[in-house]
């Protein structure tokens, strides 16, 4: 019976084809480590946020006089409202934690490199969408930090040349953050996740075209690929189990850990908090913003701190394939960069006084300095590894990759690649 139903569907819709192509016959490098589970986890958290968010929206009131009260209504009167709300508030932090690890993995293992540039860019667009969504969602509880955070961040758009003031008013719908701002942020906070969902679909289409990278950063031989299902479905599910233990640990035992106490005070436009701090996931970028003495410069630097990642595939000039594993210079650079990001996060949480101003400037300088140094580091590193020879393992993997290129369908399609391909073929023939 079931078989009949499926064959009826298959005649009209490529269901069987899709399951084969995306799951049971989708080839994945067998050497992936658990760092490769975080994309799946991010998708899982997106679903958690969508579902909990829809239920929150059923009870939430986007009105400056009712928003704060309606959160308490959800916490106290709605059946399991506290669970829905804590899932959503903890989920926001979990989303960024997972995404940051996902991006860190991409950088460390060089997954942004050819042919995955478009995959990388769609991912960065997703990060920007996520940040916008989180920022707008943070206004909705209408606490002190919600209000003043929105006030500060919308004011940043005032640096737009000539029409700055108009842009700020246009964004807020008022001269200050108020009812108009709250309702539009609510509307957009509800809309954006669906845009994110579409962007995720595009991200996945790009992924399934170029396939996953792997810890060596070098394309593996076809025989070293295994089907996604069952091997990676079970691996990701186990990863999900570990993630859920930590996630629910926070949801049930320390949910307020992720909520600033100041935000449990209702918004008051007449009382400025002594110290306006964004959520932890914005801290490094906030630190960069404040490190530049000029407001315009600060906003540009903050925007650049993320947009500069778009240029990674070009800044990295090395022709040595792979990620940090076979690239000593790049490896040091990426570790320094991780540490610097944490320093920026720490500085971002402090009041901008005394030593923290200096620390913030140094960390900002290192942050951008590393990006600008990357072309030189990568070139030098390539020269050195050509002189000294690559590790045997890398040599072998690169040879296998070249063999693989001869067979692959959509790699190296450009004109000069045809030539490159002929060279590879010739070299392989010579060697054998």
């Amino acid at each position: 019976m079931l078989k009949k139903v499926f064959s009826w569907v298959d005649e009209r819709f490529p269901l069987d084809e899709m399951i084969k192509h995306e799951l049971t016959e989708y080839p994945v490098p067998r050497n992936l480590n658990y760092m490769w589970s975080f994309g799946f986890l991010a998708m899982f958290v997106l679903v958690v946020q969508l579902l909990s968010g829809i239920f929150l929206a059923m009870h939430y009131k986007a009105d400056v006089n009712m928003a704060f009260d309606s959160i308490q209504h959800i916490m106290r009167d709605v059946n399991y409202g506290w669970l829905i709300r804590y899932l959503h508030s903890t989920g926001a932090s979990a989303f960024f934690a997972v995404i940051f690890i996902h991006i860190g993995r991409t950088l460390y293992y060089g997954s942004y490199r050819r042919p995955r540039e478009l995959l990388w860019w769609t991912g960065l667009v997703l990060l920007l969408l996520l940040m916008a969504t989180a920022f707008m969602g943070y206004l909705l509880p209408w606490g002190q930090m919600s209000f003043w955070g929105a006030q500060v961040i919308t004011a940043l758009f005032g640096v737009t040349p000539f029409i700055g003031e108009e842009v700020v008013i246009w964004l807020r719908g008022d001269f200050v953050v108020g009812d108009a701002t709250l309702t539009r942020f609510f509307a957009l906070h509800y809309l954006f996740p669906f845009i994110i969902t579409v962007a995720v679909a595009i991200h996945l289409v790009a992924l399934h075209w170029v396939k996953s990278s792997n810890p060596s950063g070098i394309t593996l031989h076809a025989k070293d690929n295994i089907p996604f299902h069952p091997y990676f479905t079970i691996k990701d599910l186990f990863g999900l189990g570990v993630f859920l233990i930590i996630f629910f640990g926070f949801v049930f035992f320390s949910p307020e850990f992720w909520i600033m106490p100041e935000n449990n005070v209702p918004a008051d436009p007449m009382v400025t908090p002594p110290h306006i701090v964004p959520e932890w996931y914005f801290l490094p970028f906030y630190a960069i913003l404040r490190s530049i003495p000029d407001p315009m410069g600060g906003v540009v630097a903050m925007a650049m701190s993320i947009l500069i990642f778009l240029a990674m595939p070009w800044l990295d000039r090395s022709n040595v394939p792979g990620g940090a594993k076979f690239r000593p210079g790049y490896r040091v650079m990426i570790y320094v960069w991780f540490l610097d990001l944490m320093l920026l996060g720490y500085v971002g949480a402090q009041a901008p006084e005394g030593i923290f101003i200096l620390l913030g400037r140094i960390a900002t300088f290192i942050y951008f300095g590393l990006f600008l140094l990357l072309p030189f580091i990568s070139r030098r590193e390539e020269r050195r590894s050509r002189e000294e020879g690559l590790p045997r393992e890398a040599e072998r993997l690169i040879r296998e990759e070249q063999e693989e290129l001869l067979r692959s369908e959509h790699y190296l399609r450009r004109e000069n690649d045809e030539k490159e391909l002929r060279d590879i073929r010739k070299r392989l023939e010579d060697e054998s």
Binding site: R30, A97, I226, F252, G345, Y346
Partner: protein, 217 residues
């Protein structure tokens, strides 16, 4: 190892950030909060008789107090003009309170989570009153506070008296901790089952993973 480092650093970043924010809280008296129903019940009596002269707890109804083990009768004894289904609002008119303090004293329903180390903050504030040089009460934690020395800590003359007021402040904090998050207990109970379930599920998934991957090693 490397994976662990990256994972840990992400967690560390947030912990450092939160910790850095918490350290700004100043010299709080780090008392342990008593989660017993008795402490909460003693606390609510002080809150209703003293704090609610000026403060409200608008998110809590008197009838909700059955959740901390009070009987209808006990709750009725707390009431003055209110009904048991009313919210716990101060009976002093808003205008009077506004005139006395310059603004309406803040609602206390979520006070225990609206300050860094909220419970300790409440306890310290109530027991930090003293007489300054002008023979007026002031507060070490919150210099220049408008709120009067509600528990008369500055007037206490002996250690016993001070200990008694400290116990009262402790009970007030206990009650306000419950008030800020009435679902905390059921949350932790459900949470324990959820975590146990997840640990078993994850262990089984791990075994299944080993079994499936065993085929290709």
């Amino acid at each position: 190892m490397r994976k662990l480092l990256v994972l840990l650093s992400a967690v560390a970043m947030s912990v450092v950030a939160q910790g850095a924010m918490a350290s700004a809280a100043g010299a709080l008296k780090m008392v342990e909060i008593d989660n017993s129903e008795q402490a909460r019940q003693r606390g609510v009596e002080i809150v209703v008789s003293t704090c609610m002269m000026c403060h409200s707890l608008k998110y809590i109804k008197f009838s909700d107090l059955t959740e901390i083990g009070m009987t209808k009768e006990q709750i009725n004894n707390l009431l003055e003009d209110q009904d048991i289904n009313d919210r716990m609002m101060s009976l002093t008119p808003v205008e009077v309170r506004k005139e006395s303090y310059g603004k309406v004293p803040p609602d206390l329903s979520v006070m225990a989570i609206a300050r860094k180390k909220g419970p300790q903050h409440i306890y310290t504030l109530l027991t930090d009153y003293y007489y300054n040089e002008e023979e007026e009460t002031d507060n070490h934690l919150f210099p220049g506070i408008k709120m009067p020395d509600a528990l008369a800590y500055a007037d206490a003359e002996s250690d016993e008296e001070r200990a008694e007021i400290e116990a009262q402040a402790h009970d007030v904090a206990s009650f306000l901790v419950w008030a800020a998050d009435p679902s905390a207990e059921s949350r932790r109970t459900i949470g324990t089952y959820v975590i146990i379930y997840l640990i078993i599920l994850t262990a089984l998934l791990y075994l299944l993973k080993r079994r499936i991957w065993g085929k290709i090693h």
